[in-house]
Amino acid sequence: MPFIPQVYRIYSICLSIIFITLLSACSSNEDESSYQPSFSSQTDTSSDIEYIFGVHPLHNPQRLHEVFSPLMQYLSKHIQGASFKLEASRNYAFYDKKLYAQKFDFALPNPFQTVNSLEKGYQVFGKMGDDHNFRGIILVRKDSSIKNISDLKGKIVSYPAPTALAATMMPQYYIQTHGLNVMKDVDNRYVGSQESSIMNVFLKHSVAGATWPLPWLSLSRERPELVDQLEVKWQTEPLPNNSLVAKTSIPKKLVSEVSSLLFNLHSTAEGKTILERMELSAFEKANNNTYDPVIVFLEKFSKEVRSIK
């Protein structure tokens, strides 16, 4: 075969292959192009009933999940036919909103929210122990010039949220009752969470930050430099700790099972581990009346500091 015609033959074959390839590359799968997910309204196929357990923003959601998920798993594991799902809230306002809208089946509100939830279809079936820890503390930097409450005048003081009882209201009442008009003499900043209130002081965004012991202990453990640079300057008198509430529509049996598990956590190794993560020694029984002191405080606070409605 002559050389030149052979070359042209090869050219032709190459061209054909290339064109075929191009053509094939141009084609597309029509089926997938129009895909849309399909849904159904099927209920949970699981036999377990899921109960929403709303914990107020003791921590940020991730921290909250970290602390309280083991408890939810514990409860889910030990109560047949029920699964417990932790639900955090972006902030106290949203938590309040969800709580008061009975979004939660079970909840761990703070005492203020507890009191309010009683009117929203919840009842107290237990509480966190260690009431002595449910107090407000005011942190300042060790190198700051804040020595007296009066030194806070005109300064910024950070708080988690307006409705945080131990971390906000109780410190504000303390300041109010120790020489300052907290609402006028102090620049109150509500920074959203306990940690945020502490970090504001550390970062000198505020001269003082209010929180309560558990978040302070928890965070300072994680970040030793906080202990080195911050100190608890003032602390309030304690009040009953955060409560355990359930919607009144939750079967009592379930509430009882939950209560039993919670109140005996401290007696098991697994439970101790869970409680330790919470910085809590134990849950204990409680009812609506347990929080009467809180009501009294709230009334005094409303009257002397600010309205809480």
Partner: protein
């Protein structure tokens, strides 16, 4: 490929080129576009993947808190924030059960995912996963993890339609570019093909015409590329083809002619030729019919191996070797073999063989031509002998011609030299090969060549020999005289074939003739003047002698004055005769050893004054100049005479150079000058005057010849000539008109000092004869009486005789002490008398007295008499002194 397409394609280079370029463009562009699109696609898909995964992961991260908080609002906000995400088809947050916590379509929130694809999320793999990846959609789900616990999933579906469209656009654009490139390439190829194939078409056109038989066509492509080279080479090839075709045609014609000739030749081979061929085994395959005539065999009888009928002659061995070489394809010279004739005679054959090759160059046969050279050999042997004899005779003739000193040459009728002898070759200074076919016009000056030509033409006309004498200047400018005979040589029918010339150098002979004539002339003049001078001297001798005697005897002072005047006049006359005798060789000489450099240096002032201030005098003297035996007075007179002539030749001034050199003359050089070979002193006088013509040169030494009219005596150069000859020297003159003259004098080197005369040592005042007996012999009575008177008055006893015979008679009877004899006497001259006296009376002293002396006839034993000759006219004192000297030695 369908045949018509194949034909369409392969039938045109242009189409092939166009297709080729188009194909290259297409392939390259296709590959480029494909690669580009694929890369783009891959990149975009990857980007899309990454973006989708990134979006899902971002949503998962951002939504973790909201999912934890079951904050549907927050979740919705997060999803809403992605509404502007390009091509986002859907985004959702789902919990671990597949419940929608958030979705781009709010209405679906709270529903559960049910499609199979969606359920893949919960297949146990807790990492981000791609649920759909197609050209139009990518669906990815990322787990929402909190503390490594999956609390839900964030899922996004991003449409890739725009990407696909973009890719399609890119692909389409690429295809368009490809097509454009192909079209452009095709256009370019078409243009190029046209340009390229134009030249090819032109070449094809030319080739078509060449195929049709035209040969005068040319393809001139005016381009500098390969086609231009191709057309140039094509034209060259065409020329070569044309030439080759012409040669082939000619060769064919020649071959055909040759074949015909060979065929004729072979058929008509004469009785001595055999044409044959044999195979490589030596077996004849063809023998021409002439073999019968040559060797007596028929062709068929001889069709055997070639050496079948070879004799035992050793030359056949060499022949066999040659044949073997030819059989191997080599060329061999003709060789001889000896074969047997059918009748038994031995025949010599000259064989010329050559190999025959096939088209592949392999030797396939040998063919040859054999010639019976038996008779030729015999003739050749005879011829060789004749030739050797002829060559011997030729050599002898050549030797004879070359031994002849005369110059011999011969030419053809056109005047071209055919040959010459050695003498002529040496004269012309050319070799035979250089001379061959040259003419006189090539070898000689025009004048001579034309003279020769006229001579040859005359011979052609008359057929007679021509004799002539010619003078030719050689390359040194010396004029040589030749006697020339020019003749012709003819064929037997009388036709003149050429010319022969024989030239003899007679220069020396002519010079000797001139010298001889001059010498004879001078001798004749000398005899004449000598005779006159002799007689005149005798008379003067009487006058002077008696005047002196008279003066001695007079007491009257006034009368003494008169006698003194007579004496003076007599001496003036004696000087005149001396001059007359000077140009002859007959004057007596007072020679002694001299160095002429010293004389010239001393006389330089005199020479300068003689030449006057307008002439510059320069001496160029050889510092080691040899001594000479010369009469100093005569030498000075000669120098003076030459200077006077030079002065007259330079009336307006000039230069005068006197040069001395030691020279050695060879036999030939001396012979030309008519002197003996040996060592000489050469004295040259060169002036820058008007010069002399040949006629004047020939007469310059003649007595009384003068160019100065009445102002010159004409004796100056004669005197110089006489002086040089007496000194056994030579004189010659070179002169050119208006250039100047050189006079060269040659004097023999003095080898041995000669004895000087003792006469000068004698004290003349106390001379007395004391009665010594002196015989005075003179045929002149007055001179005899005078001499007797002078001698007797000085105490000598004097006897007188008038002839030699009378003198001998007196000697026989008297004891004589001294004989004073005249030389020139009738019958017996003084020398002859002296010779007799020496024999018979050896004790007698002899003095000869004369005005001149013939040197040639003087015997060597009488040379002393010449050296001591008493010159006439002599004074009484000179006589007494000479006598006293002789008697003193006795």
């Amino acid at each position: 490929m369908p045949k018509y397409l194949s034909r369409l394609f392969y039938s045109s280079l242009a189409r092939q080129l166009i297709f080729g370029i188009a194909a290259v463009h297409a392939i390259l562009m296709t590959i480029f576009v494909f690669d580009l699109v694929e890369r783009q696609r891959t990149f975009m898909l990857e980007q899309s993947n990454h973006q989708a995964l990134g979006l899902a992961a971002t949503l998962a991260t951002n939504g973790a808190s909201w999912v934890l908080a079951n904050d549907l609002v927050g979740i919705e906000e997060i999803i809403s924030s992605q509404n502007n995400y390009p091509d986002l088809r859907y985004a959702m947050f789902i919990d671990n059960r597949g419940k929608l916590l958030g979705y781009t379509d709010r209405e679906k929130i709270g529903l559960f995912l049910e499609d199979k694809l969606s359920r893949k999320i919960f297949d146990g793999n807790n990492s981000a996963k791609v649920l759909i990846e197609s050209s139009n959609l990518i669906d990815v789900a990322a787990p929402i993890k909190v503390n490594n616990e999956i609390i839900g999933w964030a899922r996004v579906g991003v449409s890739r339609t725009s990407m696909s469209n973009n890719l399609k656009l890119v692909t389409n654009n690429g295809l368009i570019y490809t097509i454009v490139a192909i079209l452009v390439g095709i256009l370019f190829a078409w243009v190029m093909a046209r340009g390229l194939t134009k030249g090819i078409r032109q070449l094809k056109f030319a080739m078509d015409h060449i195929s049709a038989g035209e040969r005068d066509i040319k393809c001139e492509l005016d381009r500098e590329d390969e086609l231009g080279d191709l057309s140039h080479d094509f034209n060259k090839m065409l020329l070569t083809i044309k030439d080759n075709e012409t040669k082939i045609i000619e060769s064919h014609e020649a071959l055909n002619l040759s074949e015909r000739k060979v065929s004729q030749l072979v058929d008509n081979l004469r009785t001595e030729y055999i044409f044959y061929s044999h195979d490589l085994n030596g077996i004849f395959t063809y023998l021409s019919p002439s073999i019968t005539d040559v060797l007596g065999y028929t062709s068929s009888e001889y069709m055997k191996r070639y050496d079948t009928h070879y004799t035992d002659n050793p030359i056949n061995n060499e022949a066999i070797a040659y044949t073997e070489l030819v059989s191997s394809g080599k060329k061999v010279p003709p060789y001889e073999v000896e074969v047997l004739h059918k009748d038994g005679r031995k025949r010599f054959m000259e064989v010329t063989e050559s190999p025959l090759f096939d088209s592949s160059g392999t030797v396939v046969a040998v063919e040859g031509l054999a010639r019976d050279i038996t008779d030729i050999k015999i003739s050749a042997e005879n011829l060789t002998k004749e030739k050797e004899k002829f060559e011997r005779e030729q050599l002898l003739l050549e030797s004879i011609i070359n031994s002849i000193p005369d110059q011999i040459y011969y030419k053809n009728v056109s005047g071209q030299y055919l040959g010459s002898n050695k003498s002529f070759d040496n004269h012309i200074s050319l070799t035979k090969s250089q001379m061959k076919n040259k003419t006189d016009f090539d070898l000689f000056p025009l004048v001579k060549a034309e003279t020769n030509k006229k001579t040859e033409e005359q011979i052609l006309l008359t057929g007679n020999n021509i004799y002539k004498e010619e003078t030719i200047a050689n390359d040194k400018g010396t004029e040589l005289t030749y006697d020339t005979l020019t003749t012709c040589f003819k064929q037997s029918n009388g036709e003149i074939l050429g010319f022969i010339q024989i030239s003899r150098d007679v220069t020396e002979l002519r010079n000797k003739e001139i010298q001889l004539r001059r010498s004879q002339k001078m001798d004749a003049l000398g005899k004449l003047t000598g005779g006159i001078a002799h007689d005149y001297n005798n008379l003067l001798g009487v006058v002077i002698g008696y005047a002196e005697l008279l003066s001695m005897s007079l007491t009257d002072e006034k009368l003494k004055v008169f006698s003194d005047e007579i004496t003076k006049a007599g001496k003036r006359g004696a000087n005149l005769t001396k001059k007359l005798l000077a140009f002859t060789r007959n004057q007596t000489s007072s020679a002694h050893s001299v160095n002429i450099n010293e004389i010239l240096s001393i006389d330089l002032n005199m020479i300068q004054k003689t030449l006057t201030a307008r002439i510059s005098v320069k001496l160029d003297l050889d510092e080691s100049l040899w001594n000479l035996w010369l009469d100093e007075g005569d030498f000075q007179d000669s120098v003076l005479n030459i200077c006077i002539n030079a002065m007259h030749a330079m009336p307006d001034g000039g230069d005068f150079i006197i040069r001395t050199r030691n020279v050695t003359l060879s036999e030939s050089e001396a012979s030309q000058k008519n002197i003996l070979p040996g060592k000489y002193v050469k004295l040259s006088f060169t002036d820058t005057g008007c010069g002399m013509d040949n006629k004047t040169k020939e007469q310059v030494f003649d007595p009384f010849f003068s160019t100065k009219g009445d102002k010159g005596s004409g004796l100056g150069m004669s005197q110089v000539f006489g002086f040089v000859k007496r000194a056994k020297g030579h004189i010659n003159i070179y002169s050119e008109i208006e250039k100047g003259t050189t006079v060269n004098l040659y004097f023999q080197k003095l080898e041995k000092e000669k004895k000087s005369s003792k006469a000068e040592e004698i004290d003349l005042e106390h001379l007395n004869g004391q009665g010594r007996k002196i015989l005075v012999v003179d045929d002149e009575p007055a001179l005899k009486a005078l001499a007797s008177e002078i001698l007797s008055s000085n105490g000598y006893k004097v006897y007188e005789a008038e002839s030699a015979s009378e003198a001998l008679g007196i000697l026989d009877h008297n004891t004589i002490d001294l004989v004073l004899s005249d030389v020139i006497m009738p019958d017996t001259d003084g020398y002859q008398l002296a010779s007799i006296i020496k024999d018979k009376f050896p004790g007698v002293r002899i003095i000869l007295a004369s005005g001149f002396t013939k040197h040639e006839s003087i015997k060597p034993e009488l040379q002393e008499l010449t050296d001591n000759l008493l010159h006439k006219p002599y004074s009484s004192g000179e006589l007494i002194k000479a006598v006293s000297v002789q008697l003193e030695d006795a």
